[in-house]
């Protein structure tokens, strides 16, 4: 497979082309099969690439053709073939395939079935190309294409205003991040004269610390946009307006992980960039805690999951900032499994509850949806990081990484604070996860009409859930045991390793840290069970205990409103001022000029008789005169 890696993105592209051209008229429901097969082919080819990965560094770049050449800028359509690519591709194509299968059943009643299966493979194609790119420009192009596809998919139900607004919000918020990202790429080209990864990484030592920091921070702004870090996280919860499989695809496996991947791919730049890692860790830890506190009070099942995703992405950035790079990617993979599971599970619930998303309308669905319930609990346990499920292994490593970074001699004490923030976040994570599970599946049904109609989803939706549940159980222990020396560490160590930080302690510390985090998660689980299952204390009472805090959390800290005031209103005001200047001053000057020209030309226009022959006469006179001058001169 390393001879023809272009086959991997090709098959989703072909699926897109077939579905896009023939889908609406001829294929109709068959587009789902075409799309799924396209992704499956891609997944199988990725496995082929995994088994056939080149061992030598020199073969790890595959150039398909030269895309453009301008001055010293040379861009190839090329692929990076290394372990990081393989891991990302396995996660992306694998989870995407399961989501495609699931969508076949989930979207069954939608009129725009073919359109859905047109954008979905294109999205996966863009993501694959993003992951496989060998230079920043290709990365940027497909980074944008992912954004475009997400725009189409979030706004899939385009006759809903809320969906259109959410799509635009996602698109525009991402533009803010992309601005930083593009500026970072310009700086890279400015400093290195190339945008190829390997050349840039090789030459990283030649630039000053300040330049490297600037580049790293600008790139991180891009990552913040795509991976929904505070304050650019606002698009992600709104993006839940898209169909649930889209939410799963965008927010679990693919799009939001692009930022993590990008930082992971460019570790040398970030390590060279001084304080950038501390900034990354700080923003990650803050976002993790911040989003978790919001998730605690949300009532919309998908919104809880959305804030949970933001929170988990924050943890991944915390890992990257701490230098526990492999842990970040490990968590990326496990998170992809259990978050996709939870999204698809919530999709199954929503599907059976006739598109009701408010958890206060649920309750007691355990018996109605046994399969969904079972897999959902597994996913919830994994998200809460309960031993020995997948989330435990990866999250534990992240927190351990932060602790070691803070505690070690060459580390930074700030990271101990970040560690505590991460611990608090995981407490809240366990709490809101089980709050969600209790509200949805346990207790008495709160809406009888919906409850009576509820039924278990078709097997085509259950099958991906079961597979993901198995992965959520096994992936952590399979890949990450023993801690710091699991399969994934050995595999990725070649491409991602820290030059600066040795994040290991003796085993007693590791074990005690694991016990602490598990204990905290269990506390969260038990608190949720106590409040929402037994009603001791009652949930309403808890809300009234700290009304201000509750409202703050429920209103998402008023970030949207702040943005509205700070960014939108103020831009409008500034725009009004500028408009006034333009309309009065600039236009006035231009009008004055125009008036002057008009005044002068009212004299000059008398020359124009409207007769072509007069014009020709004047022209001929000019010719005769100029020829005459030449004649006389010689």
């Amino acid at each position: 497979m390393s001879e023809a890696p272009w086959l991997i993105p090709l098959s989703p592209l072909i699926a897109f082309a077939i579905n896009g051209s023939l889908g609406p008229r001829y294929l109709k429901r068959a587009t789902g099969i075409v799309g799924s097969l396209g992704i499956l082919a891609s997944f199988l080819l990725t496995i082929g690439l995994w088994l056939d990965l080149p061992k030598e560094d020199s073969q790890r770049e595959y150039i398909l053709y030269r895309w453009l050449e301008s001055g010293s800028l040379r861009i190839d359509i090329g692929f990076t073939l290394d372990e990081l690519t393989v891991v990302m591709l396995l996660v992306v194509t694998g989870v995407s395939f399961l989501i495609h299968v699931y969508s076949n059943a989930y979207m069954d009643h939608d009129n725009s079935f073919a359109r859905f299966f047109t954008w979905l493979p294109l999205f996966v194609f863009s993501m694959i190309m993003l992951v496989m790119a060998n230079n920043f420009l290709s990365l940027f192009v497909f980074w944008e294409m992912v954004g475009v596809c997400s725009y189409f998919l979030i706004g899939f139900w385009h006759n809903r205003d809320s969906a259109n607004n959410a799509a635009m919000k996602a698109f525009i918020t991402n533009r803010v991040g992309d601005f930083g990202f593009a500026a970072g790429i310009f700086l890279i080209f400015w400093n290195f004269g190339t945008v190829n990864y390997s050349e840039v990484h090789g030459a990283i030592g030649t630039i000053t610390n300040g330049a490297a920091t600037t580049i790293a921070l600008l790139l991180f702004i891009g990552a913040m946009g795509k991976s929904a870090q505070f304050p650019l996280h606002i698009w992600l919860p709104d993006a839940m307006e898209g169909p649930t499989p889209v939410s799963a695809l965008i927010h679990a496996a693919t799009m939001v992980t692009a930022g993590i991947f990008m930082v992971g791919r460019n570790i040398p730049i970030f390590e060279a960039g001084g304080v950038s890692l501390i900034v990354i860790g700080g923003i990650g830890a803050f976002t993790a805690l911040f989003a978790a506190t919001i998730a605690v009070t949300q009532t919309d099942i998908k919104r809880v999951l959305a804030y949970s995703t933001v929170s988990q992405l924050g943890l991944m950035f915390l890992a990257l900032g701490s230098g526990a790079y492999v842990a970040a990617l490990f968590h990326l993979a496990t998170h992809a499994f259990f978050k996709a599971l939870l999204f698809l599970g919530s999709g199954s619930v929503i599907h059976s509850m006739q598109n009701e998303q408010n958890m206060h309308e649920y309750g007691g669905l355990k018996s109605k949806l046994p399969w969904t319930y079972a897999t959902y609990v597994i996913g919830g346990l994994a998200l809460s990081a309960i031993f020995p499920l997948a989330g435990f292994w990866s999250k534990d490593e992240i927190l351990a990484g932060a602790f070691f970074r803070g505690a070690s001699s060459n580390g930074d004490v700030l990271f101990l604070l970040f560690w505590i923030m991460g611990l608090t976040a995981s407490l809240l994570t366990a709490f809101y996860t089980f709050r969600m599970i209790h509200l949805t599946f346990h207790g008495m049904p709160r809406n009888r009409a919906l409850y009576d109609h509820a039924h278990e989803s078709p097997w085509l939706m259950i099958l991906p859930l079961v597979l993901l549940a198995v992965l959520s159980i096994a992936a952590g222990i399979g890949l990450g045991f023993p801690p710091e020396h699991g399969i994934i560490h050995d595999y990725l160590h070649h491409v991602i390793h820290s030059k600066h930080f040795e994040l290991t302690g003796d085993s007693t510390i590791i074990v005690s840290l694991a016990i602490i985090s598990t204990a905290i998660a269990l506390i969260g689980v038990m608190a949720a069970s106590s409040i929402y299952q037994r009603g001791r204390p009652r949930p309403e009472a808890m809300g009234k205990l700290f009304p201000a805090l509750y409202t703050l959390s429920y209103k998402k800290y008023y970030v949207d409103e702040l943005v509205e005031i700070l960014v939108i209103k103020s831009s409008k005001a500034a725009g009004f001022v500028l408009w006034a200047i333009d309309a009065k001053l600039v236009d006035g000057m231009v009008n004055l000029l125009g008036w002057l020209i008009k005044a002068f030309s009212s004299i000059g226009r008398r020359v124009q008789t409207g007769q072509v022959q007069n014009y020709v006469l004047i022209m001929a006179t000019g010719l005769v005169v100029s020829l005459g001058i030449i004649m006389v001169m010689q």
Partner: protein, 101 residues
Amino acid sequence: MADYLNSYLFIGAILFTLGAFGVLVRRNIIVVLLSVELMLQGVNLSLGAFSTFYHDMGGYMLVLLSLAIAAAEAVVGLAILVALSRHVDEFYVDRLKSLRW
């Protein structure tokens, strides 16, 4: 040899001047167009003569291109004439003043 070139160029100059005179003086739009063709004849002759005496194909090529341009010009000019006849039924250049606003 050189004398020949001169005589061809002289004939070309006469034809060109006659054409230019026609364009300036005649009122009938179709005669004006014919005079333009006459100017092109003069130019073609000069180009052909240059080409022959300088042993270069450039002049011949330009004659060919000027043939193409003459054809295009005649076609468009006559189409305008047809359109004129349809709208104003007027073929004297000095009465067509719509260029003046």
